[in-house]
């Protein structure tokens, strides 16, 4: 398997604060990889650097073997992002939002594409609704629909099931696993729900204080640290000084 994301010696400083400190990791093609760490570990900053929303202080990020400095458009054309903390414009209808983002990606046969995804995510009933009127679960599905408009090879998902009730969270996880299986999308996933991470991630990467701490298959990490589950491994790593 080839690496879709390669991060080497990544550093991000905000004044005297080093939010990311020499971070390195790889995300292999066709996997769901969890990027884990306690609050303030540097996950969000890292994700934002992977999206070219924050410029690194130093180090390199290669996505699809390319760097933002020379190939920004080519990278972003094949990548997408979804987070419950980032909503689409509330003053547009669901359909208008999907048309807008589809056009931004230059999607061919856009209406057909939307039609297909709308069924996949079961959002047809509220296509004409204003986005600000959607429930949290509906918003999550809309965000995921938007995230698949450009047939991305790589999806960055920031806590996609946060604020969802257990039923909708479970449906979302099933959808993500289905996306990965049917479309071969590589997914980088952040979550604080270790049970969920164990269920869907092929591999996890732990970071703390902006540094790489460990990585591996969830079950193997549980075994390696001698704990009962990934939640205990998380606590073990998070409480290391």
């Amino acid at each position: 398997m080839s690496a879709i994301i390669e991060v080497d010696n990544l550093v991000k400083e905000f004044g005297s604060v080093r939010a990311v400190d020499g971070l390195f990791f790889r995300v292999e093609e066709g996997t769901i990889t969890g990027l884990l760490g306690p609050n303030g570990a540097g996950k969000t900053t890292t994700i934002q650097m992977l999206l070219d929303l924050i410029t690194p202080t130093s180090g390199t990020i290669r996505i699809f073997g390319k760097e933002y400095a020379s190939d920004r458009e080519a990278i972003l054309q094949q990548l997408n992002f979804s987070s419950p903390y980032v909503s689409l414009p509330g003053n547009l209808t669901v359909y208008e939002n999907l048309l807008t983002f589809g056009r931004l990606y230059g999607v061919k046969e856009l209406r057909k594409k939307i039609d297909e995804l709308v069924d996949f995510f079961e959002i047809r009933d509220f296509l004409k609704k204003m986005t600000y009127n959607l429930s949290t679960g509906q918003l999550t599905r809309l965000n995921l629909t938007k995230a698949l408009l450009n047939d991305p090879k790589l999806l960055l998902l920031d806590e996609p099931t946060a604020s969802l009730d257990p039923d909708i969270a479970d449906r979302t996880r099933q959808l993500l696993m289905r996306i990965q299986k049917e479309r071969g999308v590589t997914i980088l996933y952040t979550s604080h729900n270790m049970e969920e991470v164990e269920e869907i991630c092929d591999k996890v990467i732990f970071i703390q204080h902006g540094k790489f701490k460990d990585e591996g298959v969830p079950a193997e990490l549980v075994k390696k640290y001698g704990h009962e589950d990934l939640n205990d491994v998380f606590l073990h790593i998070a409480r290391q000084t």
Binding site: A74, P89, F101, L104
Partner: protein, 263 residues
């Protein structure tokens, strides 16, 4: 630059206009109020029979042109603020959209907005006061183009300031242009200003347009140096503000403030 991406943002803004009465009102309300106030004032001054001064053409012409400049700046700034208010900057900047395309879209939104304002203003000033803007003939084109360019520069500049200082600076989108008005010789000639301020006036493209407008209305011709002055100063402002915006955008990306703008 990919036009389909500019078009995507343009249509996104048109969706907002389609269903938002307050947005339409914002476009027509202020210009209509200006036309009414200055129109009645012009009628009154006209009755005073001041020799060599046609208040209706000079003052209403100035008001119409001022509103073109005002709307041009405001439209660029508001199109940008819409993305901040809707917390949409992250969504659009994780697409392949380029900064130049983003700015291009805000400018096109401005063109649509100014077209609407233009139709309203020219119709009302003709209907109420028999002032025909088209008596300026061919000169209308360079005048309006010049005001558009200056408005865009001012809009891009205020956007750069909002990028740098966040939404606490958004008042600039609505008030910054007023700073320009006293020195632009909108309603009076540059010679009416104190000598020191005349120098400031010469640095503004709008001054050349308003002086030019008065020249065309009174003599029927336009001194070439006024046109050259307008476009030369515009070129300088446009280059400087684009550079400044690009620098501020790099700054917020470096400092991780792009998304904090939306807070």
């Amino acid at each position: 630059m990919k036009f389909y991406r500019i078009n995507a943002l343009l249509i996104r803004h048109m969706y907002l206009f389609k269903r938002s009465f307050p947005r339409i009102m914002d476009i027509v309300y202020w210009p209509v109020m200006d036309i009414l106030v200055w129109g009645f004032l012009s009628l009154y001054i006209d009755k005073l029979h001041i020799a060599g001064f046609n208040a209706i053409t000079v003052l209403l012409g100035a008001v119409v042109f001022w509103d073109f400049l005002n709307q041009s700046q405001k439209s660029v700034s508001i199109a940008f603020l819409e993305e901040i208010w809707e917390k949409n900057l992250l969504n659009i900047f994780v697409t392949p959209l380029r900064l130049s395309e983003f700015l291009g879209a805000t400018v096109l939104v401005g063109v649509v907005r100014i077209f609407l304002v233009g139709v309203v203003l020219t119709s009302l000033s003709y209907l109420f006061y028999h002032f025909n803007l088209f008596t300026l003939g061919f000169y209308l084109i360079p005048f309006i183009l010049s005001l558009f360019l200056f408005g865009w520069s001012l809009g891009i500049f205020t956007n750069a300031i909002i990028l740098r200082f966040g939404t606490s600076a958004q008042i600039l989108a609505f008030g910054f242009i007023i700073l320009i008005q006293p020195f632009s010789a909108v309603f009076y000639p540059v010679s009416a200003l104190p000598p020191g301020l005349q120098v400031v006036a010469q640095l503004l493209p709008s001054t050349y347009v308003f002086e030019g407008m008065r020249s065309v209305l009174s003599t029927g011709s336009l001194p070439t140096e006024l046109l050259v002055g307008a476009f030369a100063t515009n070129a300088v402002y446009l280059v400087l503000t684009l550079w400044f915006f690009a620098r501020m955008f790099s700054y917020v990306k470096r400092e991780g403030k792009l998304l904090k703008l939306e807070g």
